[in-house]
């Protein structure tokens, strides 16, 4: 019974593709590591003092001495971007994690419980969404003084609503599925069902939203600076720097370009890392073997 072995060429690239996917995971985690390192080692690797004003070399284009050029007050943009890694990303990380965890919790409970609790929570989400976050930011500045602190609190109090709504929608679908009914039939408590069965299925969209949220947060810090409510000078914060370079976009685009690019690379790294981690952990998506 000699089988006519017919090799199928389509399958050859299969081996190549799965190796590539791990390369992406490697690449994105490497970039994230670099960014974190830059944030941690900021004071050591900065070529110049990020806050010393020197009008002599104001708004110089990128050169060997100033790789990213200088800003309107003659400060080295590269050093400020490096310093900014610490302020912007820490602020964004704090906001995303607190509002993320809070929003997911609220979404889980509201979606799963349904009925009175759900409508009460969702309507308060509507109130928060309708309420302009700028007023909150201004009010907080009175009690906490201007600067990043009040910005972080203001943005956290507003950002959780996005997560709550997204997670609730996912839960509404999931709680009807068979495996949840099975879990319920086995006598699991609702909190166990929510965290053991529903939460893992909700992680994927939340991760996508969280990695993008970092961009939204730094950009809303830029618009807050535009309204005079953001980080206080001379602090180096990407949002404030992007905004400060706004009027120079035609004569000295590098002032706003490089902090913006730093933000883009960070978002690229975090999102790709988020994607590959999700693919890595999510069994169904591993294109695995079907039992």
């Amino acid at each position: 019974m000699d089988a006519a072995l017919v090799a199928n060429k389509r399958n050859k690239e299969v081996v190549v593709r799965s190796v590539k996917r791990d390369k992406l995971l490697g690449f994105s985690s490497a970039v994230v590591l670099i960014i974190v390192l830059v944030g941690v080692l900021a004071p050591l690797i900065m070529p110049h003092d990020p806050i010393s004003v020197s009008f002599a070399d104001k708004v110089k284009p990128p050169s060997f001495q100033y790789p990213f050029g200088t800003d309107p007050l003659g400060r080295c943009v590269l050093s400020r971007v490096i310093q900014g890694t610490r302020t912007s990303l820490v602020a964004a990380a704090v906001i995303v994690s607190i509002s993320g965890v809070g929003g997911v919790l609220v979404g889980l409970i509201s979606g799963y419980k349904g009925g009175k609790a759900d409508s009460l929570i969702m309507r308060s989400v509507d109130v928060m969404l309708a309420f302009p976050s700028i007023i909150l930011a201004m009010a907080l500045i009175v009690s906490m003084g201007p600067g990043l602190g009040s910005v972080i609190v203001a943005l956290t109090l507003v950002h959780w609503t996005g997560y709550a709504r997204l997670v609730r929608a996912e839960v509404l679908t999931l709680k009807e599925s068979e495996f949840v009914e099975a879990a319920r039939a086995m006598g699991n408590s609702s909190s166990r069902i929510i965290f053991k069965y529903i939460l893992p299925n909700v992680i994927a969209p939340v991760m996508v939203m969280a990695s993008l949220d970092i961009a939204h947060i730094v950009l809303s810090m830029a618009s807050l600076s535009f309204l005079g409510l953001g980080a206080q000078p001379p602090e180096a914060e990407w949002g404030a720097m992007i905004n400060q370079g706004r009027e120079f976009i035609r004569t000295a685009p590098h002032v706003t370009l490089f902090p913006g690019l730093a933000l883009m690379v960070t978002i690229l790294a975090f999102s790709l890392l988020g994607d590959s981690l999700r693919d890595y952990f999510d069994p169904r998506l591993r294109e695995g073997y079907i039992e």
Binding site: S54, F55, P72, P234, I249, R250, T251, P253
Partner: protein, 516 residues
Amino acid sequence: MRRSLSMVLSILLVSLMLSTVGCGVKAVSSGNQSLVVGEIWKINNIDPAMNGTLTMEKALITESLVGTKPNFELEPCLAAEWKRIDSNTWQFTLREDVMFHDGTPLNAEAVKWSLMRAIAINPQIQSFTKISTVEAENERTVVIRTTNPNSDLPASLHYSNTSIIAKSSVDKDGKLIKPIGTGAFKLEQFDLSTGDMKMTRNTDYWGTVSKLESLEIRALPDPNTRALALEKGEIDFTCDPPYNELERLEKVEGLKVELNKTARTYIIEMNLNEAPFNDLRVRKAMSYAIDRESIVKNVLFGCGAPAIGPYMPGMAWTNENLKGYPYNPEKAKQLLTEAGWSDSDGDGIVDQNGQAMKITLMTYPQRPGLPPMAEAVQAQFKNLGIELKTEIMDSTAMSEIASKGKWDMKMSAFATAMIPSPSYHLNTLYYSKNNKVIGYHNSEVDRLIDECMVADDQQEKYDLSKQVQQILEDEEPVIPIAYYGVAVAMKSKVNNFVFNPTAHDYMLTNEVNIKE
């Protein structure tokens, strides 16, 4: 992966570099005499009693009783002449040949109605003019009585919010339909939703009829957009494009740029009730430590001028022989040590019996020049050994914190001639009972200001004002930094626009037209 990343990056860089190439202005087809102006502020309201600067100085629809020359001296406008009958009574005689846009003549009755309406709407007019009654003695004479003697009444009637409109401007229950003025242009159409205004020429204007057939004002709140719209040719005239682009715009073929100074001064106010500001030597040291030329050149990109006294040169009552505090870091250090402040612990910050000089400077972002100026002053004070922390916040938050007394310094851009009177600014900022926040008390200054406000003869007013300015320079309760610049950019074909410093930011006139 890497290939796609670098590709996206290069597209981004190329297109942004493209933006710095100044392409020539497209010749907009409208050869006819029409001018499109890019205005700075969003236009939500065209009631002359509230937005007089727009209706009088920019749209040229309304006019006020009293006009001013470029050097802030008063001159007749709708009122041909005026004289003071007694300390509280004034008599204004109107010009004969003036018609409102609706064809009705300008008479005393209309002026009375218009002034009383303005006072009812805008509380500031009452505090400027101190008017109690306005009577129409006859067709062309208006008698105005004030609650208490106000030698600045004529000057306050130059204020654009007092500009005169006809009764037909409002409907039966007093709601404004359309401002009907006496100006060189008539309001054709105001679109509240977009905030755009269109005016047409007033052919029977009492002055020289403008050559321009139509005038359009569009609100473009973003400086970059104003510059782009001008380069595109969508607008012919605008004010305050981004200061750093002035050089570039000047070189663009078909455009021209004018740098001017207006009656507004960047100043630093200090809390004189607290140390170290109560020490004159410290204040002088700080004033000497500020390099005003560098700030004007590098922060304002040449749009403004280093300040000597509170008033900019060219105003009738500016004390020309003030010396000011030219940049002199050595003198500043010397004054500081004289005042007992020296860097004993070598940390780069001067201190006195163990107390380092760490102070906070507050300012606000609504004037784009202020935040970078604060940082420049911070750096210059650092060389002097003073650690200055800058705080940017909303202007009302700033004045609220200041009124509570817990503040050191605040920087703002103060209008010095809201009304063209030599005493108005001095009175509001330096008169002891008016400036509790700063805490500056000088009986001599108070006396001189009182005399100046009461004096009738203009020249006498100017001399008194000059004396006050000299004392202020000696005592330096407030540090003037720079005179506020206004950059006006327009197409080369815009003809005989003459900048008038008495304007709020810029003022058009009926002489402006388009070169053939």
